[in-house]
Structure formats: C-alpha cells, structure tokens
C-alpha cells in the first residue's frame, strides 16, 4: 500500500502545533496535504506561522505536537541532514569561502559521490540555471539575481524530491523578481519536483503556485488555487489580503438563495452573495474587487440595487484607469477600468451611479 496515493499526499502535516515559549501557539492545529509534483505556496503576513511551518518541514524546528510525514514516513525524529530536502534561503546562504562550483559540489561531497560524477552533476545544475561559465567565481562576485540562481541550483543539484523556498526573491528588484518567478515555476514543473514556497508577496503567490495556503495567526485561512482564492475568498481576511479589495460594512437584511440584501452602515441597500453569513441581522463585511464594479446600469439585472458615488480622484495608469470614489461613507473605494476607446474618464467632483453583479460581491464575516 502506497501511503502517497489516495487521500494522503506526498507531504502531510497532521494536527501540527508549534509553540516557542510554552504560552502561545505560533502554529495552531495545522492540517495540510501536498501532492507529489505540486507547487504550494504558504502566504501570509509576517508572524503568521508560515516560516515556522517551513522550518518544521526542513527539520530546523521541532513540532510541539502532531506529525509531519514525507512520502508516508514520519520525519519528526529525522535530523535535517537526513531528510534530503533541498532548501533555498532568504539570503541564499551561499558559502562565501567556496566558489560557485564548490558550493554546488558540497551536497554531493557529503553524499560521497566520486569526483567525475560530482563534476558532471554540478555542470548540469549550472547549465540548468544558465550559469555554466560562473563555476569558478565566488558568490560575492555575483549579482543578486545570479546568486539566486546558484542558490536554486545548489538546492536542486542533489536531486531532492522536495524543495523548500523561504522568500527567495525578497532581495531582488521588481523586474528580476518577475523573471525569476517565471523561471522557478518552469524549472519546478519541468523537473516534476514538489515545491513548498514561502512568501508574503501575494502577486508571487498567485502567479507561481498550483495552490496557495493563506496563513494568519497560526491557522490556514484558505487553501485554494490562485483563481479561486482571488475570486472566491471565503473570509474577510483573505479578501483583504489577496489583491485589491473594496470593503463595505453593514448587516444582512434578507437572504434569498444566492442573493442577500445588505443594509450598509450608511443606510444604503446593496445585493451580495452570502458566503459566510447565514442569518438575517448578521454583521458582515462586503467585498467587491475594483475591476468588477459596473458603471453601465444596462448590464445589470432588473431590480438590482445601485449606489451613488462621488468621484474623488482619477489616476491614469496606462493600461488601466484607477478611480477613487466616495461610496456609502467609504472614501477609499477604488474602481479599476480598462483603458479602452469607449471607456469614460470620470472627472473628480462628478457623481455617478455604480452597481455590480451580486455574484461578484461577497458578504463575508465582519
């Protein structure tokens, strides 16, 4: 019986808890299953427990409670050097006293591979990250992006099945970061390795992952593929944390199947999809994405509720227009519209009617 197939994944966390001081839990009852070959990102603000989870998986922290399994085997008592997990560190942790080739050769030497095999694998790993000619350099002689590639090559050179990455792109500039996001994803998929990636950058998480686990306060708030996470957040935290979000506060006035009427604190009524509100009178935070706000009332269904909005600011962003509105006492209501020939450019000071499809507007916990 192979434990990896069926419900059990390649990596599983089973009711894992972690406390550093014996008083507070940094990770609270974590259950997570990662499939073989999957690219899973742990996303969350700092202090949310995501790095702790990664460190427990790598073996640098021990779980206070629970079981972590790799390929069906419990690794709680296996020291880090025997786990065979590749790891890319935040600041790369390339050994400064060794050349690039020596850095890559290190994991092979400790595995007692013979010299010709080592050289061959080092060369292959360097070629894989397009750094073939840099074997003789010291890490200090490389740029940030090059060091990043070497760190990646070093984590992959001994052909681990699982690679952990701890905010590996944090130190790079925007352009390089976007390029490396693409390269890392491609490499991970080409090699078919399982990747656990930790970041606090939601764009990174959305563009790279098969699934994203959003951490907050030691708990996974939502575990879903990027599109689901963005379009169907299941909690107000996720809605706020992922992407840009307009929040309106109010309480449920009536629920009719998939549409609820929400009475906002300002007294206005709007339509929304009830997600985790079920009773009339529940406090709720309504979440609507800036690009799903509609100005053209003819596109809305008959009888939809609309709101009056005052235009406060118009920003030209090139491909999009970004308009800040005052909607139901909220001064920070953002609308993003595509720069198209027929698109209206709203003038600050003017008043417009806005509305949305009830399915795009999610009534979440307050």
């Amino acid at each position: 019986m192979s434990a990896e197939n069926g419900s059990d994944g390649f990596v599983t966390f089973e009711s894992v808890q972690k406390s550093y001081d014996g008083e507070t839990l940094v990770v609270k009852d974590l259950n997570l299953s990662i499939a073989r070959g999957e690219f899973l990102t742990m996303l969350g603000p700092s202090g949310s427990g995501k790095t702790t989870c990664l460190m427990m998986l790598a073996g640098f922290e021990t779980a206070t409670h629970g079981d972590i399994r790799l390929g069906g085997v419990s690794i709680n008592n296996i020291p880090p050097h025997k786990r065979g997990i590749g790891m890319v560190f935040q600041n790369y942790a390339l050994f400064p006293h060794m050349t690039v080739a020596e850095n890559l050769s290190f994991p092979l030497e400790v595995r007692k591979l013979d010299k010709s095999e080592r050289e061959q694998k080092v060369m292959r790993a360097l070629d894989m990250v397009q750094m073939g000619e840099f074997g003789g350099r010291r890490p200090a002689q490389l740029s940030g992006g090059q060091q990043q590639r070497i760190a990646l090559a070093r984590a992959l050179v001994f052909e681990p099945e699982l690679v952990l990455m701890d905010e590996p792109l944090g130190a790079l500039d925007k352009q390089l970061r976007e390029h490396m996001q693409f390269e890392i994803t491609k490499l991970a998929h080409d090699l078919g390795i399982t990747t656990v990636y930790v970041t606090h950058d939601q764009t990174e998480a959305l563009t790279m992952s098969d699934r994203v686990a959003v951490f907050n306060d030691g708990v996974i708030q939502q575990l879903a593929p990027p599109d689901e996470l963005y379009e169907q957040p299941t909690s107000s935290f996720v809605a706020q944390f992922i992407g840009e979000n307009n929040a309106l506060h109010g309480e449920v006035q009536s629920i009719d199947g998939d549409v609820a009427v929400i009475k906002l604190n300002s007294g206005d009524l709007i339509d929304a999809k009830p997600v985790n509100v079920s009773n009339v009178g529940d406090k709720t935070m309504v979440s609507i994405r800036p690009e799903r706000v509609e100005f053209n009332m003819s596109r809305l269904a008959e009888g939809s509720h609309t709101l009056k909005a005052e235009v406060l600011e118009f920003v030209y962003m090139g491909d999009t227009f970004r308009t800040r509105l005052r909607v139901a006492d909220n001064d920070d209501f953002i609308v993003k519209t595509r720069n198209a020939p027929d698109q209206v450019r709203l003038k600050p000071g003017s008043t417009v009617d806005i509305g949305w499809m009830p399915s795009d507007c999610r009534a979440l916990d307050a």
Binding site: F60, P79, H81, I85, G86, F89, A93, F106
Partner: protein, 423 residues
Amino acid sequence: MTDVQASGPVLAADGRPLKRSLARALRRQKLRALMLIAPLLFFVAITFVIPIGSMLFRSIENNIVGDTLPETVLAIASWDSASGELPDEEVYAAFVRDMIVAVKNKTHTRLGSRLNYELAGISSMFRQSGRQVRKWDPVEDAPFRDKLIDVHKGWGEVSTWALIQTYSGPYTSGYFLNAVDLQLTPEGIKLQPEEKRILIKLFIRTLVMSLIITGACILLGYPVAWLLANLPTRKANLLLILVLLPFWTSLLVRTSAWKVMLQQQGVINDVLVWLGFVADDSRLIMINNQFGTIVAMTHILLPFMILPMFSVMQTIPPSYLRAAKSLGATNWTAFWRVYFPQSIPGIGAGCILVFILSIGYYITPEIVGGTKGVFISNRIAYHISSSLNWGLAAALGTILLVVVLMLYWAYDRIVGIDNVKLG
C-alpha cells in the same frame, strides 16, 4: 570637451591642469585633518618613535671608549694584537694622559663597567689604576709601561689591550653578538663560554611557550566565543561580562591568585590530596616553572583571543549552518567545512594579539615563572635595572622586535593579513 583635452592633460575651467586644481581644492581639507591628528602624531613621536629609535641606536652605539680614551684609541690603532707583544710606550703614555682627564671627570669607572661586560675583572683594574694615575704627571713620571703593570698586572697582558683596541670604534656589533650567545673577541667572533650561553635558549623558550599559550587560548577561547555569538542576547551579555571581568582586576592580583591556586600548599594541591589523587608527600609542583607561566598567562590573555573571535563569529549568519545541514552535512561537517573556515579571520586576529602580547610579557613570568618559566623580557628587565647593561638590553629588545615583525610577515604570506578581522 575638445579633442585637445582628450589627448593632453585634462584642464580645469580656468585653464590650469585639473590635477593641480584638485590638489589646491583638497589642500585645506588635508591641512585641517592634519591639525586634528597633530596632537596624536606629536604624542606618538615623543612616546613611541623616539624611544624605539634611541633603543635601536643604543644597541650598536659604543662612543664611550673613544670619548674616554681619545688619544689611546688613536695610538693603539697601528698596534698588531696578533704579534703577541705588548703595545709601545707611546700607547701607555696616551692611556695615562687619557686616564688623568677621565679620573678628573670621574668617567673612568663607567668605561670600566662597560668593558667588564666583555672581560670580567677589568672594572676593578680601572678603579684601582684610577686612584694611582691621579697622582702622576703626564710628562715627569714617564715612562709608564712598567709603572702601570706595577699598579695592576692586567696592564701587562696583551688581551687587555686587544680588548680596548677591539672596542675602540664608535659602533659595535658586540651587544648583538652577546644577545645571541656569541662574543666579539680580538681573535674574531666566538661562542660564549658554555655557562653564559642562556639567551638563545631563552629566545627559543619564549617563542615556544608563546606558541603553547596561543594554542591553549584558541582551544579554550573558541567554544566560549561560539557561545557568545550564539546565545540569546541577554545571556550572551552576561557571559561577555564574565569574559571581561578579569580586565577589571589588577594584573598583579590575578597573577598572585594563580600563585595561591598552584603552589604546593595551594588550593589545587590541597584538593587533590584531599581527594586522594596525590599523596601528601608528593604534592605537584605547578608553580615557579613553565607550567605555572603557561597556565597563568593563558588565563590572562584569553580575553584577547575570545573578543576578536566573538566579533567575527557574530557576523556569520546562522543560515549558513542550516544551509549546510539542509544540503546533507552532519553537524560536524557543517561546522568544519562551513562555519570554521569563516571564523578563521577571528582566530588569526586573536593569535596575532595573544602571541605578540605574550612574547613580550614580563610581570606574570616574573611572579610565577621561577627560573625555568621566565621569558626573554625578564632578562631584558634584568639588564636594564640590575646589571645596567643597557646596550645588551637594547640589542635583545631589537631582536625581539625583528622576530615579531618576521612572524607577522610570515603570517601575511601564509594566511594573508586581510584575513584578520577584529569584527
């Protein structure tokens, strides 16, 4: 930008060469900087450069013979000491004339002391003869050869005069030769007599013991420095205070404390006897020998090893060790292949500090070293304050300085001096 400027020297806007304009612009700044460090420069010159220079000079300076016996030095120059015959009456007469002046100025005893370093007993010859010569007249009482030999038969020996001739020059290599257990004799450079050959042995002992002390400091200091660098800040600060605590105690007190600990009726021996490891009549001798010096000096110099190692280790991020382990290295391999090489600059700095301090150490070996555990610096101190042979002390000091510089150079060649970091 014209082509002329590109090929010739670059000119400033007013047509003067840019280099000169730049130098003018920077001159005020440089002057001000110089003014700021002028007190320090002055202080260093007065307290360091001049004393060191005078010490180096004193080790070869030998004006005393020429100054005290000017005529004799001239007269004796043509005498051939190898002939085995005593010098002419002319030399004796010149010597008496010089001595009359010297006795009047009371400088003849100093010359006697100086020459006594080379030939024992000559000092008293000068003193005895001085009392007689004082009564003589340089013209009426001539000839002097037999009279002088009557005063002291030493004046009738060729070796006495050969010695004066050998040391008549204003400079001498004699002190340096003495410092390495050789002597400059009229017949050339010879080994010192067996019983006087102690300095080379002392030099070697100083170097070997300094190396042992440095090694002991590395072994004891490395784990402490590692702890300091890896403990949580609060505990590390407490430990750092413990490391620095010895600095707040007088060196003499610390050294004396070791005397209390190590002596035969001391704490350690008492405990060993009480535990039954050592019989009461065969208590260990741990003081007034090399062991005592090594123990006490290791203790005293340990902070100088720990502090640079600590400050270097502080700069090594813990992620390196984690990275090594994640790559499959055991704890030991991770330490030895990744952590240790990065801590070498700290060890280097600590070694240089401890070795150079210990090679010139004086107080501790003096107190706990007995006769077998003393260093070359104790010998230098003896020649400065007791035997008053400052020339020899200066020569020993110079050799010590040169040895340290040579070791420093060797270190630079082998390890590289830019590999030394104090933090």
